[in-house]
């Protein structure tokens, strides 16, 4: 028998022991954050179940004050050795840290709002049902068009519970789950090849209907066939909702007060100023029902609330934790993400009232961008500059003319916000807590041939 492993404790026993050990070591106040998750996923390829994955996972972090500073250490093993590692780790961490930019450990807020993104019924959906769903998507995709070669179809579900406790009487927990399905395919015609992708998600198998996934994937690939390159130049550009969400997600750090205070965002000190087109309103809503990023409390245990970051083009607030709020003389916005970091919850550009077809018609001669890639390399979150491989459709006389590929779209995110000329009505969260409607932009630089 394994000596160490056989001594593992339950989560509640270990948490209590860790808080005790911290108190004895002079770590006060102290906090335990734990995250337990369960996932299930299957992948189908060529009519066959290819991959079957099940997991349960746990991680636990001890934070606590030693003298002036707050130290941090974490573990996935709930045994005696970990108790010692956590206490020693918190002490070494507190000894090394020289800044005050740690999340504070405080008593609970007076009240927390309720928000639901957990479906009990989803926990009862069987493995067999999820496999059948994946098979059905794959089958429909194969039948959709003779030119289509389905790649992989994945159906997955996950659930997690976070618990935050501290020695000052705070005790919070939040539970969430979700299901998602996606399919990818390759389509070949002559020397042309293109890939298709479609993802749907929700809280019930009803949210990921096989036909919607398969048809979406096939359509995505087929409409890219016959793609050509475009002449280089500056064009009016419509960025489709999914691609705009990828951009906002990459650059959302510009709204972090921590980045602003450290000179890593050009929005520092710009509250109250116009930083975007009057058509642009950007909202962070942690209390959005059934939102992927919803939670009644943040990583510091602060109660969360809905707020406009940008309203009618004016920067209303940056996203704060307690430390950055104190520095700026304001109150936290409930966006602490741990380790002094700040992150949005559900962040989105508020939809306008015009359909995508209107945006395309108004663009005249230009480009509809449907896909951007290379965001981790081609986008500089500090300067706002981006130069990204893109795909999309050429717009001629206000109508889609043909697919384009192998182009780069270059610009600057700050400038892009100012250059928005229309906002679509098609707000989309594509399996991410950052969502966008389609957006029309005055001009962006396209490099093609």
């Amino acid at each position: 028998m394994n000596k160490d492993a056989s001594k593992d404790m339950s989560l509640s026993e270990f948490s209590a022991r860790a808080l005790e050990a911290a108190a004895q070591a002079g770590i006060a106040p102290a906090e335990i954050f734990s995250n337990s998750s369960e996932t299930f996923s299957v992948r189908v390829r060529g009519g066959k179940l290819e991959d079957y994955k099940v997991s349960d996972r746990l991680s636990l972090t001890l934070r606590g004050r030693v003298g002036e500073r707050i130290g941090t250490a974490s573990t996935q093993a709930l045994d005696e050795e970990s108790l010692q590692l956590l206490v020693a780790g918190v002490r070494e961490s507190a000894e090394l840290i020289e800044t005050d930019e740690q999340d504070d450990i405080l008593p609970p807020d007076p009240a927390y709002s309720a928000v639901c993104n957990y479906s009990e019924a989803l926990d009862d959906v069987s493995a067999g049902d999820k496999i059948a769903l994946a098979m059905e998507i794959d089958k429909r995709l194969s039948a959709a068009d003779a030119r289509i070669q389905p790649d992989a179809t994945v159906v997955a579900s996950s659930g997690e519970e976070t618990i935050l406790r501290n020695s000052l009487g705070l005790s919070l927990s939040h539970r969430s789950n979700m299901i998602y399905a996606y399919a990818s395919c390759l389509v070949k015609e002559g020397s042309q090849a293109a890939t298709g992708f479609k993802l749907l998600w929700g809280y019930s198998p009803e949210d990921v209907k096989p036909w919607d996934v398969a048809d979406g994937c096939a359509k995505d690939a087929l409409e890219k066939l016959g793609a050509v390159r475009m002449a280089s130049g500056a064009y009016p550009v419509v960025i489709r909702n999914n691609a705009m969400a990828d951009l906002l997600s990459t650059f959302c750090g510009v709204f972090s007060a921590d980045n602003a205070q450290k000179g890593l965002s050009l929005l520092s000190g710009k509250e109250g100023e116009t930083i975007a087109s009057p058509l642009v309103t950007i909202t962070d809503d942690p209390l959005m029902p059934w939102g992927l990023g919803s939670s009644p409390f943040d990583r510091e245990g602060a109660a969360t609330e809905k707020k406009h970051v940008v309203e009618g083009g004016v920067l209303k607030t940056l996203l704060h934790n307690r430390k950055t709020a104190k520095k700026a003389g304001t109150k936290t916005t409930g966006n602490a993400a741990g380790a002094g970091r700040i992150a949005p919850s559900n962040l989105f550009i508020a939809p306008g009232d015009r359909p995508l077809s209107d945006l395309i018609a108004a663009a005249g001669d230009g480009l509809l961008v449907t896909e951007v890639s290379g965001l981790h390399a081609g986008a500089n979150p500090v300067s706002g500059d981006f130069s990204l491989l893109a795909r999309g459709f050429e717009i001629c006389g206000g109508e889609i003319r043909r697919a384009v590929e192998q182009i780069t779209v270059a610009g600057n995110f700050y400038q892009l916000l100012r250059d928005v000329t229309a906002v679509g009505d098609d707000l989309l969260f594509e399996g991410s807590p950052v969502g966008c409607p389609s957006v029309a932009v005055r001009l962006l630089n396209i490099a093609g041939e």
């Binding site: 593992d8 991959d51 090849a193 000179g263």
Partner: protein, 465 residues
């Protein structure tokens, strides 16, 4: 000694339990790791943390289907429960109820470690970051921000499988990360340098000078601050060695992994023995290089690591193959099965992957290129393996006019298709150097080296403004 992690007898019980209802192969991957991270920003230590990731993954092949169950509960009862979950998914009942007998093997250690980061006093670790910070700030008053990080990881693994394997290894990684921002008040530019190796704290007495690393990051940022935007178009491009090898890694390396070759999702599927690159191109994936960032003793399936010729004088020689894709392809695995942690089933991945040294002269290739771009420092990139389309950022680029390097340019990116760029390489220099990266794919993020000598591509699309 690996039995302090999981005893042979527990592994035998768990593997037999996983194969209770059938299945052709079962495996346990157990890990108990220590990580340390330290970061400095605005001249002060901002973050210091340790963690202990621990868990186990159990894999069963059900015919050619992979079943993977992982858990943080590594008590015998927890592991048997995970084995039951895996067994419950098995459909092919052939070979059920087999006994498993294990034999311990110990791999030779090709990558000795002199000094564990976990035994180094806190102040000495902080000192490394202060040296990098000071050197970066000394480059120019326009350096407004420096972020430096020290990352260390000791991964203790045990791998056992139903073919009798019972083995283990300790992988030690140490890395410095430096990022400098130069600003003129309205605009910011970033430069980075992130050297690392499969070794301990001796990294800083043998291979990496923190001050040199900070200075290099700062110089790139300052140079780019003064640079005008790069003009877009097609042109010859010379790509410097070291991290310049990311272009081969992304545009070609991923397409030679069985993960994309086996299902026919790679442009190089079915092309063994064919010419896929210019004759001056030989490319290698080598896990044996002593103490290199992407090196191994055994892969994450317990097989000894290897050195593999991918392309020889332009001809495709080998794919990188993991065990399961090997079964599907009818080919032997190449010791290329890798995974980020127990939370991932392994798949074929790169290790230290580079274009081998050639015979050309660096100076000559620029002198004879006419007008084009010199990419002195590459950023990251991505690729669609099915079509080979890639996109790389050029972190530090220079315009070449009439065979002479002239002004720096910013915002350039290189785009194209992997199969095309391989054929268009027309010069390969003599000195191969490598750079470190974390490579992301289906089995998570793993340390890999990219590398090459200076090379020239006769024609490439440069994206810019």
């Amino acid at each position: 000694m690996i039995s302090h992690m999981l005893t042979q007898s527990i592994c035998e019980q768990v593997l037999a339990r996983a194969l209770r209802r059938g299945g052709s192969f079962a495996e346990i991957f157990y890990e108990d790791s220590r990580t340390f991270g330290l970061s400095l920003r605005s001249g002060r230590i901002e973050n210091a943390s340790t963690s202990r990731p621990r868990g186990a993954g159990i894999r069963v092949y059900d015919a050619l289907r992979s079943i993977y169950v992982y858990t943080c509960d590594v008590t015998p009862a927890g592991l048997l429960r995970a084995a039951d979950k895996a067994a419950a998914a098995v459909m092919d009942s052939r070979g059920s109820g087999r006994d498993v007998v294990l034999h311990e093997t110990r791999p030779a250690d090709l990558h000795p470690v002199a000094r564990s980061v976990f035994s180094v006093p806190a102040a000495d670790k902080a000192q490394i970051l202060r040296e990098a910070d000071r050197a970066a700030r000394a480059v120019s008053p326009r350096i407004t921000q420096v972020t430096a990080g020290l990352i260390a990881r000791e991964q203790h693994v045990l791998i056992a499988n139903s073919e009798g394997l019972y083995t283990g290894d300790t992988r030690t990684y140490t890395r410095l990360t430096c990022s400098a921002i130069a600003s003129d008040g309205t605009e910011n530019q970033t430069g980075t340098d992130n050297p690392g190796a499969r070794m301990g704290f001796e990294l800083f007495s043998t291979r990496v000078d923190p001050a040199a690393s900070g200075e290099k990051a700062a110089r790139t940022a300052v140079t780019m601050l003064d640079a005008p935007y790069c003009a877009a178009g097609e042109m010859p491009v010379v790509i410097a060695g070291g991290f310049g090898g990311v272009i081969f890694h992304e545009a070609c390396g991923h397409s030679l992994e069985a993960t994309s070759v086996e299902p026919g999702m790679s442009e190089f599927s079915g092309k063994l023995g064919e010419t896929i690159a210019a004759p001056c191109v030989t490319a290698i994936d080598d896990g044996t290089m002593p103490n290199e960032w992407g090196s191994e003793n055994i892969d994450d399936e317990g097989l000894p690591t290897t050195s593999l010729v991918l392309i020889e004088n332009g001809v495709l020689k080998n794919y990188m193959i993991d065990r399961l894709n090997g079964l599907k392809m009818g080919m032997a695995p190449t010791g290329s099965g890798r995974r980020e942690s127990y939370a991932f089933a392994p798949t074929s991945r790169m290790r230290n992957t580079f274009i081998a040294p050639g015979t050309d002269d660096d100076e000559e290739m620029i002198r004879t290129m006419g007008d084009g771009l010199y990419a002195a420092q590459m950023g990251g990139g991505s690729v669609n393996p099915a079509t080979g389309e890639f996109n790389f950022a050029v972190q530090e680029g220079y315009l070449v006019r009439d065979g002479k390097i002239t002004s720096p340019v910013r915002g350039a990116s290189l785009i194209g298709k992997g199969s095309e760029i391989l054929m268009r390489i027309d010069r390969v220099g003599k000195n191969m150097t490598m750079g470190q990266g974390m490579c992301g794919s289906r089995s998570g993020s793993v340390p890999t080296n990219v590398g090459q000598p200076t090379i020239r591509v006769s024609r490439l699309t440069v994206g810019g403004k």
